[in-house]
């Protein structure tokens, strides 16, 4: 056991709490070189999406908030070992170096359910892969066991991501999208800036409070911020019959959530969503 530095036990489709998903490991605050993950998956038919998420974590594609706190400019990819077992102590997959000895039996301190909220930081490499948003949506819907809310959760994550990424990280201006040709130019430029992206990041944090049935979503981007008051005012003052080709993303989010707030000069958006 001594060579195991971090340990995570995750129930999938268990109680309603965020740590019930491998994506939670993406947000663990104390990433170390070697981790053991035990999956309790009696009701899960297809483990593949979880193993893929694990692989991305082990390969350092996703980073933790601690990585950023230590050195926000370090975009190097640390490799780590992650060993995934099921409850019957059968190895499901090993990423990186295999363990030098069996990690079992576990010490009593390790043999209990972890409790980590999802907190994922997406650096250039993860942003270029275009899988971060689907990963987050799949993770949330599965972890919260709310298939019937998948469309609204998709809308929340997709629209918040698009705004923070396109305007915050890439610095694109929505006004470009005033005409069909402008929309084409905007998305061509989006692709070009994405390919050239070296630094910049987005951090998504999700916390679910089971007693209140509330999901709290925070998204922070590395951009300069913006005049968010203008956007907030537009929710109440813009004519509903607007025919503008842009400006509906945050309005859509606003209509779904209980509360929407900006902080840090608009770099950070905080939402409360009733489940």
């Amino acid at each position: 056991m001594s060579d195991i530095i971090t340990f995570h036990r995750l129930h999938l489709y268990g109680n309603l709490s965020l740590p019930n998903d491998p994506l939670a490991i993406l947000g663990m605050q104390d990433a170390h070189q070697q981790s053991l993950l035990v999956l309790d998956t009696p009701q899960v038919d297809n483990l593949q999406p979880y193993l893929v998420a694990c692989e991305r974590f082990a390969a350092g594609v996703y980073k933790t908030s601690r990585d950023i706190a230590q050195d926000p400019t370090d975009l190097g990819v640390p490799s780590m070992s992650l060993w995934v077992y099921n409850e019957d102590k059968q190895s499901l997959q090993t990423f990186g170096s295999p363990p030098s000895a069996s990690p079992f039996p576990l010490s009593p301190a390790h043999d209990q359910l972890g409790n980590v909220d999802i907190d994922v930081t997406l650096h250039a490499e993860a942003l270029k892969g275009n899988y971060a948003v689907p990963d987050l949506i799949t993770g949330l819907v599965t972890a919260l066991h709310v298939q019937e809310k998948s469309s609204e959760l998709s809308t929340l994550v997709t629209e918040v991501f698009s705004n923070a990424f396109e305007h915050g990280v890439l610095g694109l201006d929505s006004k470009m999208k005033s005409t069909a040709d402008g929309m084409t130019a905007y998305y061509t430029e989006r692709q070009k800036r994405l390919e050239d992206l070296r630094d910049g990041f987005l951090r998504f944090a999700f916390r679910y409070d089971a007693s209140k049935h509330r999901l709290y979503l925070t998204c922070t981007d590395s951009g300069p911020g913006f005049d968010f008051q203008k956007v907030l005012d537009s929710f109440s003052t813009c004519p509903s019959e607007s025919v503008a080709l842009f400006g509906r993303g945050l309005r859509l989010v606003h209509s779904i959530v209980e509360s929407l707030e900006f902080t840090h000069n608009g770099r950070c958006i905080q939402l409360t969503y009733a489940l």
Binding site: S151, S154, T155, T158, E159, S162, K177, T179, A180, M183, T184, Y187, R190, S240, E241, S242, V243, A244, L245, F246, R248, G249, R251, L252, S255, I256
Partner: protein, 100 residues
Amino acid sequence: MTITSTMSDDKKSLTIEVEGRFDFNALQDFRKAYESHGKADAYVIDLAKADYLDSSALGMLLALRDFAGGDDAQIKITNAVPDVKKILIITKLDELFSIE
């Protein structure tokens, strides 16, 4: 994501079907679906097989509305699944398009 367009025999009505995720990745195909035919008298957007729609798709629908004559455009959005229909209504597109 797949987009197909079919002109009616009398060349008056163009039907565009969108399948899968209707988001910014659909932009080029969606524009081509109507721009390649010239202006029709009426348009039908069949969303029966569209399982998701984001705000950039709303922009694309409004770009088609401009192309088709703005306030005079004849555009019907048909067969939207409940989740998609809800987004069209929340964003008030039901006031700009005929949604069936």
